[in-house]
């Protein structure tokens, strides 16, 4: 009975999504405030029904209702309670329901914030935003109900379910998909703001102030979500990599790149009124790439660890939906944007020109990743043979594109809007440059390496960190106060995060030690001054698996460091899983995993032993970027209501004589 209620709730949600589109769009067109208000009510109503459906599906997992086909396929009675929650979005149907649910969370938040008392948003504008979000939701819910219904029955009901893919039975996977989707779907808000502005035909710097905090929030979630995915892949997939240029990773990375470009373009639009058309276009692109990502992951057109579901009809539906959303919004853009492009000019060296370079590099990077990801699909469609694109394509091109970007980031913070002298900016960055060169030289000496990739990476990372720090110090001195405006602090933190990330990546990629060797009980092997002694394996039983657990004693110069217990698990339905054992550290990780048993008599195993220097810095850097985004979002100027704004305007007029804005 419950599943039918969930189904009904979804259908009611679908109808409300349609209402959420139709009423406010007519209301905004006709200036009818009753209709505009109906859009808001529809949005709240839709949220209630979609949440209800989501709760019902979750309950079906907790209560082990195997008469629901989706539950039967992705869960069983031995599945630990924690994973019954994450199993809700463990496969296709549920993850789409999560997509819709998260879109609803964004919609009600945006609607509530923009319709609260004293909001600065014109009612027509927020009505259009609500309408666009309603339309997106309508399309997705059609998709869920007609091609991927999570509430389909499985009758007669089986006594026992299959299993949740064991790869997904991991704490990292409980929060990775929701975070990623919060980011993906969050770009729908920036998209809706862009479309609403295009529909209204009017845009100004105020508009950017409305849309920017939402973009920052979505971007922060996406950054965090991607980082979580990378961290999970590192410890769970059993071969110790942190990024594979896998199509599904690319699918989440492309919106991130476009979103990063968007954030920077928005800052120009906000401060200088320039780049308006470009900002609109990037808002459309970021969300279109999110949709494309969903298409890539969920249509089964690509071969990947993530592509759990494959069903061509779904692919056709998403493709049509994609065509409508992207084609429609680009047509609207082509029609309306030329009339709206304005903005101040700027000299060849200025903050604007540096951000322009940033945007070009990031956009070209999106194009590059897109080409490499779609090329095999296109080649296959045109009968050019089955092709795949090797990771070196992405790796080498990406480094080429990002190296210049890393170099100009500190310049960007220092340089003034509109016009600046390159000499003035450069003279302030001499100290960071010297420090970075010294650190790189020290690294060369300590690691006794002449590897150019390691050293440029360390240099670039230090340059980003010290360049951003020196800007912070100078900025604090100049204003004679011991604090920075939040947006400045956020920028510095995020840019330092990029530096930390770059150091982590270049150290891991060029100085890791990776050994694959056969080992029997009692054997020892030395990796990067750490001695690993294999004590053999023992059989252990888990809640829904049985495993061979190895014991490795790790010592350095005769001193005990740690004991590691990697496992080889066999789940109920026969799936074999490698559980790596890690000893994390600030400057290095030790990583051991069991390959396959080589022979049963001597208990010998194929073993992976890795030492990965500075790998934690990769995730530390991304966390700094995430917090940077969140802090920037909380800047005072985005939270102002109409009245507060009037007050500051009056105050600004009083003191405007001597004030110079940054």
């Amino acid at each position: 009975m419950n599943a039918e209620l969930g189904q009904l709730a979804l259908i009611l949600g679908l109808l409300l999504a349609f209402a959420q589109f139709v009423f406010p769009i007519i209301g905004a067109w006709r200036g009818n405030s009753t209709f505009m208000a109906m859009g808001r009510s529809a949005a709240y109503g839709q949220f209630v029904f979609v949440s209800f459906a989501f709760v019902i599906l979750t309950y079906a997992f907790i209560a082990q209702d195997f008469s629901v086909s989706y539950v039967a396929y992705n869960s069983n009675s031995q599945l630990p309670m924690l994973y019954r929650f994450s199993a809700v979005w463990g496969a296709h149907e549920g993850s789409l329901l999560l997509w819709v649910f998260i879109l609803n969370i964004w919609t009600v938040t945006v609607t509530a914030v923009s319709s609260r008392k004293g909001s600065v948003l014109p009612p027509e504008f927020s009505a259009r935003v609500t309408a666009v979000l309603g339309l997106i939701s309508f399309g997705f819910m059609l998709f869920v109900i007609f091609t991927s219904n999570p509430f389909d029955r499985f009758l007669p009901s089986p006594l026992e379910g299959a299993d949740l893919n064991p790869l997904l039975q991991d704490p990292g996977l409980i929060i990775h998909p929701p975070m990623l989707y919060m980011g993906y779907v969050g770009f729908a808000v920036a998209f809706a703001f862009a479309i609403a502005a295009l529909l209204g035909g009017r845009i100004d710097r105020e508009w950017v102030r409305w849309t920017r905090p939402w973009t920052l929030l979505a971007w922060s979630f996406l950054t965090f979500g991607i980082a979580l995915g990378s961290w999970w892949a590192y410890y769970e997939l059993g071969w110790g990599g942190w990024w594979f240029w896998d199509p599904v990773e690319n699918a989440s990375f492309m919106p991130w790149l476009a979103g990063t470009a968007l954030l920077h373009a928005q800052s120009v639009t906000e401060k200088r009124g320039a780049f308006i058309g470009w900002t609109l276009l990037l808002s459309i692109s970021a969300f279109s790439l999110s949709l494309l990502g969903t298409f890539l992951v969920r249509s089964g057109v690509i071969t990947s660890v993530h592509a759990f579901a494959s069903d061509p009809t779904r692919g056709v539906f998403i493709l049509a939906y994609l065509g409508v959303v992207i084609g429609g919004s680009l047509a609207l853009y082509a029609f309306r944007a030329p009339k709206m492009i304005t903005g101040g000019g700027f000299a060849w060296f200025s903050r604007e020109s540096l951000i322009l370079i940033n945007n070009l590099l990031l956009t070209v990077a999106v194009g590059m990743v897109l080409l490499g990801t779609l090329y095999p699909i296109i080649a296959d469609a045109f009968g050019m043979g089955k092709i795949s694109v090797g990771p070196p394509y992405f790796g080498s091109l990406f480094i080429m594109l990002m190296a210049p970007l890393m170099m100009i980031i500190p310049l960007g913070a220092y340089s003034r809007w509109k016009q600046d002298q390159i000499g003035r900016v450069a003279s302030q960055l001499i100290l960071p440059l010297v420090i970075s060169a010294v650190v790189a030289a020290l690294a060369a000496w300590m690691l006794s390496t002449g590897n150019l990739r390691t050293l440029t990476g360390v240099f670039a990372g230090c340059w980003l960190i010290t360049g951003s720090l020196s800007y912070a110090i100078q900025r604090i001195r100049r204003q004679k106060r011991n604090s920075l405006p939040r947006s400045e602090f956020a920028m510095i933190l995020a840019h330092m995060g990029v530096g930390v990330f770059v150091i982590g990546v270049s150290m891991v990629e060029t100085t890791s030690t990776e050994k694959h060797i056969p080992m029997g009980p009692g054997d020892t092997f030395t990796v990067a001054a750490y001695e690993f002694e294999f004590k053999g394996t023992e059989h252990v039983e888990g809640p829904n698996f049985s495993a061979e657990r190895g014991t490795f004693m790790v010592s350095k110069n005769g001193k005990h460091v740690t004991a590691l217990f990697p496992e080889k698990r066999r789940y109920r339905k026969g799936q074999v899983m490698t559980e790596a054992a890690l000893d994390p550290g600030f400057t290095r990780d030790l990583y051991v995993s069991l390959g396959d048993p080589l022979d049963n008599i001597n208990q010998r195993w194929a073993v992976r032993i890795y030492e990965k220097p500075f790998i934690r810095w990769i995730w530390l850097g991304t966390l700094m970027m995430t917090f940077g985004g969140l802090i920037a979002m909380s800047d005072r100027r985005y939270r102002m209501t109409a009245r507060a704004k009037e007050k500051t305007r009056l105050m600004a007029e009083k003191t405007s004589a001597s004030e110079v804005t940054a």
Binding site: F66, F154, A162, L167, I387, S388, V389, L397
Partner: protein
Amino acid sequence: MTPTRKKRMTVVLLILLGVGIAAAIAMTALQENLLYFVSPSDVAADKMPAGRQFRLGGLVKDGSVVRANESLEIHFVVTDGPEDVAVVFNDILPDLFREGQGIIAIGALDTAGVFQADEVLAKHDEEYMPPEVADALEKTGHTVADQNAAAENKP
């Protein structure tokens, strides 16, 4: 042209030039990193010269897996029914590698016609059959049915 227009033209041209160069570099890099999917029948038809990297796909032939004693070296045969290719791999196999399973091996043929694999992929899913392998098997008249027998154990 007014000076402003001239300046704008220069900027636009520079951007176009930059994008053009980037596109050219990207296409070159793409060409260098393309890996073709090749079936054992294609190998038998001498479609791949020795030393050229490609992705070999097929089923691991039953009873063909032989391990070395003192190293990780492993020998097995990849088949698509009519044709076989001998493969050598000197690293750790993925969890789902076993006889009768569909796999993809990345590497190149040596002069003796043995496939030297640098990487072996088998997916983390019992029912999984790489689509390329399934296609290639269908071409040679093999069915995927026995491979998917596991799927029927599902509820």
